[in-house]
Structures are given as structure tokens and as C-alpha cells.
């Protein structure tokens, strides 16, 4: 066991680091923590585009991709090393993740060569932004319960329906979408997958206000939207198969819930007063922080185990499946701890960034326990896929989609 790079890895890391130092600022050396503007603002979008283009021009944007589409054909571990190095720099994040993480692989696998050459490089270069259109109002955890319709009309398909929880729809150029082409077929057999021009006539985008007050997601309405059959990905009826890998990747790979963690709780407790003593002297607080520290450390070391496997060229085990459920619940607990430590003043929004972070943790965690697979869905996945327990009995099996009980 050791935490050192091999010589080859160290060389690669140095290369990443050198380029980054020339092109971005280390977070540790930045005084302005928000130099790119507020997430979602036009300035932020511009900064994101510029950074993505810069990376693309140097080959870093999608470094694991084939060179022909702008990649470097890097190994999984090299990709991780790049990620670790980039993480140290204060660069705009969040605009491209879904498109590159979900639309990219699907296009890579299912698009024609011509389409790949047309769409992949601008996607990686950040010139065209992609979104994902899977969830629907009646299809949340049960994504395959979607009802948006596709009807064939000549060489086109006509799409009607509503998608929901689409990040960035308002500024995206293209989206990947799965819709139902035949409600008389079995639930999973009746779906087909496309990519769609988000500027097509008939697409209407409405932001969703979240309980945090922000709007990172949208509802997207489709009214007689035409998609050429050439933009179909996979065969007619193969929609679920195309969707599922991407989706499972999302559910298993969603990382740590961002926000305050054991270390911040510990620092806060050292400074906060508790009836004339430092809060950290309170044994109940010490025990809670110990719990969170063990969880945080456990997740961090779990990630290291995954990387160790990649580093050796092995397939990682299923251990990363625990990440989101543990970190989102931890975040909720820490948010509550921080707020409660202010006693009667805990409800006040203040200038103090710690308090702000605790409030964000408390509100945001309620969403993080749901987004990208609820706690309940993720535990099902662990039980069924990791431990091999049998599925719940399926009330939707062997029925035409239209006959599946839906409560409405």
C-alpha cells in the first residue's frame, strides 16, 4: 500500500498541473471565490464556455475520447489524475457535466460516424451544450413510466409530452430524449431514444423554482416537436436499453453531496460558544463529529480503493454505490447540527459564511437525498445489484404500458 504515483502517473500529473498553472488560478491562491459570476448567470455561462474551449484546444476537455473527436485516448486513471489536478483550480464548473457525462457516451455508442464527427467535437469544445430529457412528472424513480409520445410521420417523429428536472435546458443546444412510441407494448419495449435540437419549434422551457429559491432545473414541454428519424439512437423499441446504462451510471456515479463536512463542523465547534465553553468540549458534539469524520473518511478511502483498482487495470468493485446516500444524509445531519448550535438565533440568515453553509446544507440536502436516485432507490440498487437479493414483485410486468395501474 502506498499513495504514490508510479513514475508514469507522476509524469502525467506533472503535465496536467503545468498546463493548469498556465491557464487557471489555484483555489488556494484565489481571494475571490466567485470570480466567474453566479452559477446560471450569463457571465458564468461565458466563463464556462471560454474555459471549456481552452481545455478542448489543449486536448483536456474529453481526454479519454478518441483523438479523432478531440480526445487524448487517456486511460481511466489518467482521467482521474486530470480530475484531481483540475479540482485544485478555481474554474467554472457545472454547465457541461451532464452533456459530456450522459449525452457524450450515448452519442459515442449509438450515433453514426457522420453524426459523431459533426456533434462530438463541438460538444467537447463547449460550443454546443447538451442536456438530458428522461424524467417526467409521472416518472420519477420509475423513469420507465414515462408517457411522452413519439408518433412516426414520414421521415420524422412527432413528439408530444412533458419532461422535467432538466438541468440547463434554457441554454442547451441539443438534448438526448427517451419517449414512448407504442403504449400498447410492454413498458420497457415501447420506448425509443433520440437526440433533439433544443431550438426546435414546439419546445417550451419553464424553470422550476426549488425550495432553496434557486432554479437549476426546468420543465420542458413538447408540442408537436419534429425529430428526424436520422436522430434516432438505437433501434425503435430500444429506448430503454439505451437509457438504462446512462441512467445507472448517473445513479451510481453521483458523487459526494457538496457542502459542509466533518472538517467544517469540527472547525466550527472549536470556535462556537456553548454556555461559556467551546462547543467542541461538548461530548455529544464530539461523538457526532466523530461519526461524520468516520463517514467522510470512509467515503474518501472508498474512492481511493476504486482508484486503486483502476490504477491496476482492474474493474472497481461496487463500493462506490454507497457514496451519495451516505454523503447526502451526512450533509443533512451536519446542516442541522450547525443551525442548532446557534440556538435561538439559528434561523437568522447572516453574513457569516459558515452559517450560510449550514443553512444551504440543511435545505440542499433535502434535495440531494432525492436527486440522481432517492435514498430508497439507491438502497434497492445496493440490495439487488450488489447483494443479489430478489426484485420486488413487479406490478408492471407483462402488461401493455397503457394497462399498468397508474393511480390516475
Amino acid at each position: 500500500m502506498n499513495f504514490n504515483d508510479t513514475e508514469q502517473q507522476a509524469q502525467f500529473r506533472a503535465k496536467c498541473s503545468a498546463w493548469l498553472k498556465n491557464n487557471a488560478q489555484l483555489t488556494s491562491q484565489t481571494s475571490n471565490h466567485n470570480p466567474h459570476g453566479k452559477a446560471g448567470s450569463p457571465e458564468f455561462l461565458d466563463a464556462s464556455r471560454i474555459w471549456q474551449k481552452k481545455k478542448f484546444d489543449a486536448g483536456w476537455a474529453m481526454l479519454h475520447w478518441p483523438k479523432i473527436y478531440g480526445g487524448l485516448e487517456a486511460s481511466p486513471l489518467e482521467r482521474i489524475i486530470w480530475g484531481q489536478e483540475e479540482a485544485k483550480f478555481n474554474v467554472p464548473r457545472g454547465v457541461y457535466e451532464i452533456g459530456l457525462g450522459m449525452a457524450g457516451p450515448v452519442m459515442m455508442q449509438y450515433a453514426t460516424e457522420q453524426q459523431k464527427q459533426r456533434y462530438l467535437p463541438p460538444m467537447a469544445a463547449g460550443e454546443e451544450i447538451w442536456c438530458q430529457l428522461f424524467s417526467e412528472p409521472s416518472a420519477g424513480s420509475d423513469v420507465a413510466g414515462l408517457r411522452s409520445k413519439a408518433v412516426k410521420d414520414g421521415d420524422d417523429w412527432i413528439i408530444n409530452g412533458q419532461k422535467v428536472w432538466t438541468s440547463g435546458a434554457q441554454f442547451c443546444d441539443y438534448g438526448i430524449i427517451v419517449v414512448r412510441h407504442d403504449p400498447n407494448l410492454d413498458k420497457h419495449a415501447g420506448m425509443t431514444f433520440f437526440f433533439v435540437d433544443m431550438k426546435s419549434p414546439g419546445i417550451d422551457i419553464k424553470p422550476i423554482k426549488q425550495i432553496t429559491g434557486g432554479s437549476s432545473f426546468n420543465e420542458v414541454y413538447f408540442n408537436d416537436v419534429r425529430i428526424p428519424d436520422s436522430q434516432r439512437l438505437g433501434a425503435v423499441g430500444d429506448g430503454w436499453r439505451v437509457a438504462i446504462t446512462t441512467l445507472m451510471n448517473e445513479r451510481l456515479a453521483v458523487g459526494d453531496a457538496n457542502g459542509v463536512d466533518a472538517a467544517e463542523a469540527f472547525e466550527w465547534a472549536k470556535g462556537q460558544d456553548d454556555h461559556g465553553q467551546a462547543l467542541i468540549e461538548n461530548r455529544a458534539v464530539r461523538e457526532s463529529i466523530a461519526d461524520w469524520y468516520c463517514q467522510a473518511s470512509g467515503l474518501k478511502n472508498t474512492k481511493l480503493r476504486t482508484m486503486s483498482a483502476l490504477s491496476k487495470g482492474d474493474t472497481p468493485g461496487p463500493e462506490a454505490s454507497i457514496t451519495k446516500v451516505v454523503s447526502a444524509n451526512k450533509l443533512q445531519a451536519i446542516g442541522n447540527f450547525g443551525i442548532d448550535s446557534l440556538d435561538m438565533a439559528g434561523m437568522l440568515k447572516t453574513e457569516l459564511s459558515d452559517v450560510h453553509d449550514f443553512h444551504n446544507a440543511w435545505l440542499g440536502s433535502a434535495g440531494l437525498r432525492i436527486a440522481g436516485g432517492t435514498d430508497e432507490i439507491l438502497k434497492n440498487i445496493i440490495a439487488e445489484r450488489v447483494l443479489g437479493l430478489p426484485q420486488d414483485p413487479r406490478a408492471d410486468k407483462g402488461l401493455a404500458f397503457k394497462d399498468i395501474p397508474s393511480g390516475s
Binding site: 424524467s135 409521472s138 420519477g140 424513480s141 420509475d142 413510466g145 422535467v164 428536472w165 422550476i208 423554482k209 426549488q210 425550495i211 429559491g213 462556537q272 460558544d273 456553548d274 454556555h275 461559556g276 461538548n282 455529544a284 443533512q332 442541522n336 443551525i339 442548532d340 448550535s341 446557534l342 440556538d343 435561538m344 438565533a345 439559528g346 434561523m347 437568522l348 440568515k349 447572516t350 457569516l352 452559517v355 443553512h359 440543511w362 435545505l363 433535502a366 434535495g367 437525498r369 432525492i370 436527486a371 432517492t374 435514498d375 430508497e376 438502497k379 434497492n380 420486488d392 413487479r394 406490478a395 408492471d396 410486468k397 402488461l399 399498468i404 395501474p405 397508474s406 393511480g407 390516475s408
Partner: protein, 375 residues
């Protein structure tokens, strides 16, 4: 042997519930939050008109002359409907303090006005972002004037009077201050803007003494014990509302061809909500008994009610969001209104940790006599 409310008390509750439903208290709460107002004036005026502010005020002062048990019943409904009104500040805290600690003169002056709504009161305790103690109070009294700053004072923006916890010559004391130009009241943003909170700067504001010099901390504790019981009923109401919402949603919402309420993950979550709510309810009933009989067990009974009601509402409001999935995280659904209010109520008279400490401290001080005959 009766640990239950009387038929009359339950009738009052059911009337309160119908009224608050008819008046769309919950929607009003959302609207106050959306517009960052401090209260819903119209609803408040109607509540005053119904006489609720005078429930505990003796008839000689134009009140209804009823007891704490009636107040608990109303509290439960205000909690269930998230009523955006200064009821708790003015009634559980201010009015109770006046009834218990004020001179006859003050009573004659204020109690009738509290009934009519001409007077609205609140209580100002906190000064810093930490738990208040007798040691960390810096608002001072010189002669009869109060100076210094308080924060997180609920409803101060519409209150006419405030009881201020101050540092006097002989220690902590309670001062009754009329909010006038000597008091600079500023709105503060909170995590639940459906209830207004304010800072107050006192600049040599006139303050009349309540109770004795140096007695303020003890009086405050008694006042908070009393209020904790009534707040626990607000919390019960809120917890029940979220359990009802979650149950209803779990019956209506389908996934994989069946109601999500048929999955054990949801079933057991809702059962856990019910369990916490039932424990809290039973403890709050006992708290109400201790409150209404001025039992020596009040301190322990109130802490027990407070701790379990806080745990219940926190958990129920949190898992109600989870049960609603993505919808629960939208501004449009009501889940977050309850999540906010649960947090606010879990802080307003002190945090969970504070009340657990009070509970154990209470147990250490007294071996409670077993008032519960035969159990």
C-alpha cells in the same frame, strides 16, 4: 383518570381548525413567505376578533377566562395550518408574562388591549449567534432605561410592546418596553420568512420592571417552560399535517405500477413518523396537564414534551419531503413550508440540545413524585 381534553376543548379545536381551513391559513403562510411580509394582517385581525388572544386573560380584563388547555388546542391548529400571525409571541410569551409577573397597574393597562389586539407583545432574549445565558447578556438597564441590541425577536415589527431580558445591577431582569422611537426595529431574513423576525436597538428606552431585580433569569425559565408546552402543540399540529400529506401522497402516487405507499420503505418511514408523533403527542398531553395544574413537574414535563415534539416535527417534515420525491423539493409543493416551520419552531425557545439538557437537569434536581397514580 383522564389524560385527554374535554369535549368543550375539542370543540374549540375543531372550530379553530375549520376557521383556519376556511381562511386558507396555509396559503396565506406561503404568500407571506413569498412576499417576505412579517405576517398576514387580515388573518391576525380575524383571530383577534374571535377572542383567541384573550383565551387565558381573566374575564375582569375582558378576556375569555379560559385555561392553558384551551390554548393548547388552538396552538395545535395554528401549527397544523402554519398560521402566519404573531400569536405565539403575543400570547404564549408576552401575555403569559404579564399575567404572571406584572403589577396590577400593568395588567389593567395591557390585558384588555391584548384582547382587542391594540397591544401586541413579544419577548426579546437573544443578542448573539449562540445560546443565551445569564452571563452573556449585554443589554443593560440604567435606572429604568434599557440600552443595547437584541436579535431574532419574533414579530417585533408589529408588536407594540416587548419584554426584554436585561442585565441589571442585581443580575438579570425582565423589562417591559413600549416600542417607540427609542427602539430601532429592523427586519431580519430567516430560513422561514413566513414568520417575521427582527433586531431591536434600544437607546435608553423606558422599561418597566417585571418581577424582581435579579429574578429575570428564573422567570424566563418558567416562561419558556410554559411556552414550550404550547409550542409542542404547534409542533404536533405541524407533524400531523406532514404525516397526513405524506400518507395521502403515498396512496396517490404510483411507481412501477403500484402506489408508493405499498412499498415497505415508504410504509416504514410513515410508521416511524407515526411513532414519533404518538410519543410526542402523549408527552405533550402530559405537559399540558402539568401546565394547567401548575404542577411542580412542569419543568421536566415541558422539556419532555418539547424534546419529543421537536424530534417528531423535524423528522416528519423532513421525511415528508423525501416521500414526495422531486416534487417535495419544489417551491410549488407545500412540503418546504413545513420543513422551514419545523426548524424555526425547533429553535425559537431553544434548540433540541438545550432542552435535552434542561430535561436531565430537571431530573437531577427533583425525583419527580409519581403523579400518575397507579402506573
Amino acid at each position: 383518570m383522564n389524560l385527554d381534553f374535554s369535549d368543550d376543548q375539542k370543540l374549540l379545536q375543531s372550530e379553530a381548525r375549520k376557521f383556519l381551513e376556511k381562511e386558507q391559513s396555509l396559503q396565506r403562510s406561503r404568500s407571506v413567505l413569498d412576499q417576505q411580509q412579517a405576517l398576514d394582517t387580515d388573518l391576525w385581525q380575524q383571530i383577534v376578533a374571535m377572542g383567541w388572544t384573550g383565551i387565558r386573560i381573566p374575564e375582569e380584563y375582558d378576556g375569555l377566562g379560559l385555561g392553558h388547555l384551551e390554548l393548547c388546542m388552538v396552538a395545535e391548529e395554528l401549527g397544523r395550518s402554519l398560521a402566519p400571525v404573531p400569536f405565539s409571541s403575543s400570547v404564549y410569551l408576552f401575555t403569559e408574562a404579564v399575567i404572571k409577573f406584572a403589577s396590577d397597574e400593568i395588567k389593567q393597562d395591557l390585558l384588555p388591549k391584548l384582547v382587542t389586539g391594540e397591544c401586541v407583545g413579544t419577548l426579546a432574549i437573544t443578542e448573539q449567534l449562540l445560546a443565551p445565558t445569564a452571563q452573556n447578556m449585554n443589554v443593560t438597564v440604567a435606572g429604568n432605561t434599557v440600552s443595547g441590541s437584541k436579535i431574532a425577536v419574533p414579530d417585533a415589527g408589529i408588536a407594540t410592546h416587548v419584554i426584554v431580558l436585561c442585565k441589571g445591577q442585581k443580575g438579570i431582569e425582565l423589562r417591559l418596553v413600549e416600542l417607540n422611537e427609542d427602539c430601532n426595529v429592523q427586519k431580519q431574513d430567516t430560513i422561514d420568512d413566513s414568520r417575521g423576525h427582527f433586531s431591536i436597538d434600544f437607546r435608553n428606552a423606558q422599561g418597566r420592571l417585571l418581577g424582581d431585580h435579579g429574578e429575570g433569569w428564573a422567570l424566563l425559565q418558567n416562561l419558556l417552560d410554559q411556552a414550550a408546552v404550547m409550542f409542542s402543540f404547534e409542533q404536533l399540529g405541524g407533524a400531523q399535517a406532514t404525516l397526513d400529506m405524506a400518507t395521502n401522497y403515498a396512496q396517490q402516487r404510483f411507481a412501477f405500477g403500484r402506489a408508493i405507499g405499498s412499498y415497505q420503505a415508504i410504509k416504514h418511514k410513515l410508521a416511524d413518523m407515526y411513532i414519533k408523533l404518538t410519543l410526542a403527542k402523549s408527552n405533550s398531553y402530559y405537559g399540558a396537564w402539568a401546565l394547567s395544574t401548575e404542577s411542580a413537574e412542569l419543568a421536566v414535563a415541558a422539556a419532555t414534551a418539547r424534546v419529543s415534539a421537536t424530534q417528531a416535527f423535524n423528522y416528519c417534515s423532513q421525511e415528508n419531503i423525501q416521500t414526495h420525491g422531486g416534487n417535495g423539493f419544489t417551491w410549488e409543493y407545500d412540503c418546504h413550508l413545513f420543513y422551514r416551520r419545523a426548524k424555526l419552531l425547533s429553535l425559537n425557545v431553544g434548540s433540541l440540545a438545550t432542552w435535552k439538557e434542561k430535561l436531565i437537569h430537571g431530573l437531577e434536581k427533583t425525583q419527580p413524585t409519581n403523579a400518575q397514580q397507579g402506573v
